[in-house]
Every structure is written in structure tokens, then in C-alpha cells.
């Protein structure tokens, strides 16, 4: 791993300023994606701006939405008693990310900013219609995730929180890759407060995506059987040593049904 300057600012504005000054800076939250990438030599930033000094952690449940500070580790999201009552599917998702050690460092802010095509959180953000709060603005999840490892974030922009509207019910089902623990396919299904249904898939394509046919069928009747005969085409799905595109297409329907059955 190449050496770098290390800075740990205490304020969001100072972090953005440090980034502006750096030749090729990188923000770091839990480092659970960034450090492995740097150890592999795939990134060698001139400066690491450690956001843990911002101390912005916590889960706050309001009457209509839940706001999770960007620096909240996965273990604290999974363990939040209030969240388990308000959006149980989201707490369950966080408890299934990686392993306990990853959950002790990795953060929701880092996960959404990274937008790994096999990450879990982006599916919850998209299905629940979350709003991503940044140092500069508020962005709907539909606008935030723009493709493989890419988001609408500008270079000096910092994710500060993610706000999730409280749904009627929701559920998440993941088929993990047994080695990496990331989603080979993960499906998040949510019936929102207004009765509309959103279905978001991770792990299967270049980035998280919605499935309108499933949403329409589940809006008529929220039951696993509504998804009988509905499948996503395998044409643009990922194919690798772990699973072919056809297998992933099949898994999407299976996981979507499990997510509906698990919805609370």
C-alpha cells in the first residue's frame, strides 16, 4: 500500500476543504472497502480524509421516517431497537452485511457512497424511496445511484445521513456469495405508506435496479404468488464464476418471493 497524508477533521466543512486541497484525496469512513482496495494497489490516494472524526452516528426514528447518520456502523443499525420496530426489514439487512468484524467498522454512508453492485444497502434505499443527505443537498435514491460503483456525488461532497420513509411493511432476502458474503442476488420489497410497492434488486446487474413488472403485480395483491411467472430477462445481468446470468435471473424471482413472505 502506498503511503498518504492522514487527516481526521472534526467538521464536515473542514473535511470538504481538506478534500479540495488534496491532490488526489479520498474520504474514509469504516475503510472496509477503501483499505482492501488500496492493499490490492487498485487505489493510491495522496490523502486520506478520515470521516470518523465527525462522530456522526445514530439512528433516529421520527413519525414518518427514520434518519440514520452516515457514520453509523452496520452493527448499530442492526441492533437498533427503535429501527427493529419501525423498519424491521432494514435492521435485518444490516445484520446480514459481511461478518461481525465488517459490521463493527463499515458504515451506511460508506456503503451508499461506494455503490458496489453487490452491496445490500442500495437495494433498501431504492425500494424504500430513501433520501440521501449530503454536505450540499438532499438527493432521492432514484437519482443518487447512477451505475456500477458510481453515484451523483461530486468529488468534495460528503454523505451525512440517509433518511428512510417508514413503509407499511418491507422485507429483504439475500442469496450471499459464501466466500465474499456480498449478495449474489438480493431483493428488497417494500409496500410504502401510500400502498404503492417498490422492488429493488442488487447483486444481479451493473448496479441496483427496480423491477416494474413485479411492482405492478404486487400492488394488485401483496403476496408471493403474485410473482408466479414473472422473471427478469437475463440479457444484461452479471455472469461470473459464481453464477451465470440465467441463474441470477432465476434467483431474482425466488428471492423476491422470499422477501414478500418475510415482509413485516
Amino acid at each position: 500500500m502506498e503511503n498518504f497524508n492522514y487527516i481526521r477533521p472534526a467538521k464536515v466543512a473542514d473535511a470538504a476543504k481538506a478534500m479540495k486541497k488534496a491532490k488526489d484525496g479520498k474520504f474514509m469512513s469504516g475503510g472496509m472497502t477503501l483499505l482492501p482496495t488500496m492493499k490490492q494497489g487498485l487505489a493510491s490516494p495522496s490523502d486520506i480524509i478520515d470521516l470518523s472524526g465527525l462522530k456522526n452516528s445514530g439512528v433516529k426514528v421520527g413519525s414518518k421516517s427514520v434518519t440514520i447518520q452516515a457514520g453509523t456502523i452496520h452493527a448499530d443499525v442492526a441492533g437498533s431497537k427503535d429501527l427493529k420496530k419501525a423498519i424491521p426489514g432494514l435492521a435485518k439487512l444490516a445484520g446480514g452485511i459481511g461478518d461481525p468484524h465488517v459490521r463493527h467498522k463499515g458504515t451506511i454512508g460508506g456503503s451508499v457512497a461506494n455503490n458496489d453492485p453487490a452491496a445490500d444497502y442500495p437495494s433498501a434505499c431504492l425500494a424504500l424511496g430513501a433520501t440521501i443527505h449530503t454536505s450540499d443537498r438532499k438527493l432521492a435514491a432514484d437519482k443518487f445511484f447512477t451505475g456500477m460503483f458510481s453515484t451523483a456525488l461530486k468529488d468534495t461532497e460528503i454523505v451525512t445521513a440517509v433518511e428512510f420513509p417508514i413503509p407499511k411493511k418491507c422485507g429483504y432476502a439475500k442469496f450471499p456469495n459464501p466466500a465474499s458474503l456480498y449478495a449474489m442476488v438480493g431483493v428488497f420489497v417494500a409496500q410504502l405508506a401510500d400502498g404503492s410497492v417498490r422492488v429493488a434488486v442488487t447483486g444481479a446487474g451493473a448496479g441496483v435496479f427496480r423491477v416494474p413488472e413485479m411492482e405492478a403485480a404486487l400492488s394488485k395483491k401483496f403476496a408471493a404468488s403474485s410473482l408466479d411467472g414473472i422473471a427478469v430477462k437475463s440479457k444484461n445481468l452479471n455472469s461470473d464464476m459464481h453464477a451465470s446470468a440465467e441463474y441470477r435471473a432465476h434467483l431474482i424471482t425466488v428471492m423476491a418471493k422470499r422477501a414478500v413472505d418475510a415482509a413485516k
Binding site: 500500500m1 498518504f4 490490492q40 478520515d50 461478518d99 465488517v102 458474503l181
Partner: protein
């Protein structure tokens, strides 16, 4: 190179680090605490697990400089007054190791999981909690038995 201080196994230590110095490098190379192992370069095996401020983390994926002023516990810090920690004793008793390479990480993870889940543990919980610790030798059966017994004695 900045100098950092931290508390390791209850003792105040200090040392010079680069930004890129990993916690595991600081522990092994600077402090000579070679009980913490490195088994992979992909953050997946858990041989390097230590506790930082009470939480089990992978020291191969943690910057030493980010642990300045933290409290770190390694496998060397578990035994007290020449007596093995109940979890170490249980691994010995139940033959929870063969080559022993994964064992420090297994035991540090086990102690952490008992703290979070209590002393009465079923096999399923133990196996789920050990997903971040890979063993190439034992087939896990005796590790699970050791964790169960060690938990009850903690």
C-alpha cells in the same frame, strides 16, 4: 512519521507510524505481539481479529494511526496471572485447533460474540457469528464445541 500512543493489553505504548501502517503491522512489527496473525490480503479470514475499544475488528484492515488513543486487546492480553482465559482453555480442552493459525482470531471473535450474545449459545448462532473467521484445518465442529463450552465458563 507521526508518533502515536495507545493502550495495548492494558499497557500504554507509543511508536512512530506512517499513515499507511496497519494496526496489525504496528502490533507485530513494532510491539512484537506476533500472536495476531495475517492469513489473507482480502480482509476475509479473520486471523487478525483484535478488540479496539471493546469491538472485534480486523487489524489488517484498520489503520494504526486511526487507533491513536484507543484501547486494544490482543490474544496476548487474555490470559491473566499465568492462567488461560476460559475461552482459551475451552479451545485446548475441546481440541478446537489443529495448526493453530486461525486460533487467535477465532478466540478474539469468540470472546466478542459471547459479550454480545450471552453465555448460552446454540450452534447456529455460533456458526453465524464466526462467518468472518476461516479455518483451513478443523472443519469447525470442535471450534463450535469449544466456543459453546468457553462461553458457559466466561
Amino acid at each position: 512519521m507521526p508518533a502515536i500512543t495507545m493502550k495495548v493489553n492494558g499497557q500504554a505504548v507509543c511508536g512512530d507510524v506512517e499513515g499507511r501502517t496497519l494496526l496489525v503491522e504496528f502490533l507485530r512489527d513494532k510491539l512484537g505481539l506476533t500472536g495476531t496473525h495475517v492469513g489473507c490480503d482480502t480482509s476475509q479470514c479473520g486471523a487478525c481479529v483484535v478488540h479496539v475499544d471493546g469491538k472485534a475488528v480486523k487489524s489488517c484492515t484498520t489503520l494504526a494511526i486511526a487507533c491513536a488513543d484507543s484501547e486494544v486487546t490482543t490474544i496476548e492480553g487474555l490470559a491473566k496471572n499465568g492462567k488461560l482465559h476460559p475461552m482459551q482453555e475451552a479451545f485446548r480442552e475441546h481440541h478446537g485447533l489443529q495448526c493453530g493459525f486461525c486460533t487467535p482470531g477465532m478466540i478474539m471473535s469468540a470472546v466478542d460474540l459471547v459479550k454480545r450474545n450471552g453465555k448460552k449459545l446454540d450452534d447456529e448462532t455460533i456458526r453465524h457469528e464466526l462467518e468472518g473467521n476461516i479455518c483451513r484445518c478443523t472443519g469447525y465442529q470442535n471450534i463450535v464445541a469449544a466456543v459453546k463450552a468457553g462461553a458457559a465458563n466466561m
